[in-house]
């Protein structure tokens, strides 16, 4: 009994202590979707920021995967208690930016709070995705990545592939050799089916995914990815799927293990896969830029980013916004950015951090981390490669994936599948246009 009373007393004392801090600290809620090593990074950043000053306290909370976090934030907003900062994946961008009133644009936030903020200090290939067509930054890029091709060098050597393939025809040849050398279930594969074969594929070949600069210039955009080039590429995949020279690995990243287990020796997925690959792959591996079709004029163009950014929610007190602005300034610090980039494998968001990492000689030892940066900055972005912004993109990706699956499964031809994906996608865009206005 005495023990129970003691326990109660301690709890009470602890509660009182928490309720009576030395002085008023403004708490800033940060909802995120980071797990594993990246979750540690989020917590560490918050701790460092909280230790660096005494007016604000950033409180990170994990809210599930990307769609879960976004839905939790939307539901909280509808209930009137949204977090201050919310991590939203790149495909949620259109939904967020159309919600005028629900969000506070980052450029506005920094101006109001009087924090030093130079939009030109950030890498345009990254911030462009999260900015208006006028260049005003709407959300703060946090973890950015791009799609790269991961190569199991040991297996390629065994299969007699002398050079790492650069173009799609070379990849197909290498995959055939790999298959002959014992990789019977998978010559090559990829995660994020639509990101690889529609979104990145289009940007990398400088062909439009949709009109209006892939939706960046307006919600009245229409999808265009049923071009002969797209059909040809999908047809190649369909043909190779038949004997598993190419083998489909699903819509998201659950099958990345096929690379680290050695099953698939050529695998396209996010550059953010670096930390996992480093920890799990027991062979000599590297990453190289995505392949392209050499007969397409101007290819390769540049890749687009993926990952997530931090959105500031609307309707908070000026005092709280000041704290958020301070936190963003803290995150933009060159040394911190450089360290974040080198530890996590995510891209640096400021030019200075990129230059510093270069100057430190980091990329000579870790060329893998430079691959996505090389892709992103390969050429000056065009209308087709600045990024993309389609409403209800989460649902759209599922629909596109459904059609790709139907084609690879032999139920539809490449043209039928892509025509259907475009038509169904356009229907969603029109619904979104009506709600967004």
């Amino acid at each position: 009994m005495a023990f129970r009373h003691l326990g109660l007393a301690t709890t009470l004392a602890a509660t009182l202590a928490l309720a009576n801090p030395a002085h008023a600290v403004t708490e800033l809620q940060w909802w995120h979707a980071m797990t594993g090593g990246n979750n540690d990074i989020v917590n560490k950043l918050a701790e460092e920021f909280n230790a660096s000053q005494s007016d604000y306290k950033v409180v990170p909370s994990y809210k599930g995967n990307y769609p879960d976090t976004m839905n939790a934030g939307i539901a909280a907003f509808r209930a009137g208690n949204a977090p201050h900062i919310m991590q939203v994946f790149e495909v949620g961008t259109a939904t967020m930016m159309s919600a005028t009133g629900a969000i506070k644009p980052v450029y506005q936030l920094m101006k109001d709070a009087g924090e030093p903020f130079d939009p030109k200090a950030y890498l345009p290939a990254i911030t462009g995705y999260y900015s208006t067509s006028k260049g005003d930054m709407l959300s703060f890029p946090f973890n950015s990545s791009s799609m790269v091709m991961w190569i199991n060098k040991d297996e390629l050597k065994k299969a007699g592939v002398a050079e790492i393939p650069k173009t799609w025809p070379e990849v197909f040849d290498a995959a055939k050799k790999l298959k002959a050398a014992g990789h019977t279930t998978c010559g090559f594969s990829n995660a994020w089916a639509t990101w690889a074969h529609i979104e990145q594929f289009s940007a990398w070949h400088n062909v439009p995914i949709g009109t209006k600069a892939n939706g960046l210039d307006g919600f009245d955009t229409e999808l265009k990815f049923n071009s002969p080039l797209h059909i040809k590429h999908l047809q190649n995949l369909i043909d190779l799927q038949k004997d598993k020279t190419y083998d489909y690995s699903g819509r998201a990243s659950a099958s990345e293990g096929r690379f680290s287990s050695g099953e698939c020796a050529i695998f396209l997925t996010s550059s953010g896969y670096y930390a996992t690959a480093k920890g799990t792959a027991k062979f000599d591996f590297t990453s190289v830029p995505m392949p392209y079709y050499p007969d397409v004029a101007g290819a390769p163009q540049n890749s687009i980013i993926g990952g997530a950014s931090l959105w500031v929610m609307g309707g908070k007190k000026p005092e709280e916004y000041k704290g958020v602005a301070k936190f963003f300034a803290f995150l933009s610090d060159t040394n911190r950015q450089a360290k974040l980039h080198q530890e996590s494998g995510y891209l640096p968001i400021t030019k200075a951090a990129y230059e510093k990492t270069k100057a430190d000689g980091f990329y000579e030892k870790n060329p893998i981390l430079q691959t996505p940066l090389k892709e992103l900055t390969n050429k000056e972005p065009t209308e087709n490669s600045r990024g993309l912004r389609f409403g209800n993109m989460v649902q759209m990706r599922d629909i596109w994936a459904e059609e790709i699956e139907a084609a690879l499964g032999g139920q539809k031809t490449a043209k039928e599948a892509l025509d259907a994906a475009v038509a169904r996608g356009n229907a969603i865009l029109r619904t979104f246009e009506k709600t967004a206005k």
Binding site: I74, G250, E403, I428
Partner: protein, 293 residues
């Protein structure tokens, strides 16, 4: 001898009903009416703008070929899951009803899967049947069976059906067992003395006497497959490949929660609600006639 207490107050019965009525109202009528209202609106995800558009959501819904496909998928899925989980559970229950040495342990093991959350059950099945990583998929591949639920719709359907059945068997088993144990032994023994074999005893004595339980389970299972299975589908296939495992309830979830299209999602819930109410009504009207209480 009969004693009956009569309460003079007219108010009391209503007061006693209030808690139940509040629960029914808060957890059923209120959300259901919200869904009905929302199905006539076009609203953005944040609820910043909403516009009354009448039947437009329903018109758009019934113009989608995918919706009819989801209906067909639901029909196949629910028939398979409800049918198989009831049959298998009945088989297990009749076996457990015999006097076995390890009967208590056997019963306990049978009940376990029910305690597993649908999403967790889904993840378990992924680990077993992932085409290249799954522990049970590998033997299939060694046998030269091209197991590929990522692209083959029938394989994916088989996988979610198995997971959904596995989860529901425990529940059905429990009720069937209780039902079997309440059948008087004397009736069965009388049948045995008259020379009826085990199969004949089952079909002419046990099965009819079990019919109230079977009927109850049929209703519950139909509701289960219609509403409670989306956690499994979400974890195992995400409705794919090419929509092969997108049932109606999964489409409600995908369009509303993932797609942010709340109006269409609400319209689909209303359609689903009507279908399930109709199904239950049919069951009570026609199937219950054959039940012998």
């Amino acid at each position: 001898m009969e004693k009956s207490a009569v309460f003079s107050s007219k108010l009391l019965p209503y007061l006693l009903l209030v808690p139940q009525l509040i629960i029914t109202f808060v957890f059923f009528y209120w959300p259901a009416s919200q869904a009905l209202w929302q199905s006539f609106l076009r609203e953005d995800a944040f609820g910043l703008s909403s516009e009354f558009i009448g039947m437009e959501n329903y018109q758009a819904l019934f113009a989608q070929p995918e919706y009819y496909k989801a209906m067909l998928t639901t029909l196949v899925f629910s028939t398979l899951v409800a049918g198989l989980s009831l049959t298998i559970a009945l088989l297990f229950a009749t076996q457990a009803d015999k006097s076995l040495k390890a009967a208590p342990a056997y019963k306990t093991f049978m009940i376990w899967p029910y305690a597993v959350a649908p999403a967790v059950a889904g993840v378990l099945w992924i680990f077993m049947f992932h085409p290249s990583l799954g522990t049970l998929a590998r033997p299939l591949r060694w046998m030269n069976f091209d197991w590929n639920p990522l692209l083959n719709g029938n394989h994916a359907m088989a996988l979610v059906v198995m997971a959904a059945i596995w989860k529901q068997i425990s529940y059905n088993f429990l009720f069937f067992l209780a039902g079997l144990q309440s059948i008087p032994k004397s009736v069965i023994e009388a049948g045995a003395i008259d020379g009826a074999g085990p199969m004949r005893r089952f079909w002419t004595i046990i099965f009819p006497l079990l019919s109230p339980t079977s009927f109850f389970l049929l209703v519950v299972n139909v509701v289960y497959v219609f509403f409670d299975t989306f956690g499994i589908i979400d974890a195992v296939t995400g409705g794919g490949p090419a929509g092969a495992t997108t049932t109606m309830v999964y489409k409600v979830y995908a369009d509303g929660r993932l797609g942010g299209d709340l109006g269409s999602s609400a319209a689909q819930s209303v359609v689903l609600m009507i279908i399930v109410i109709a199904l239950t009504a049919v069951q009570f009207r026609y199937v219950e006639r054959k039940v012998q209480y």
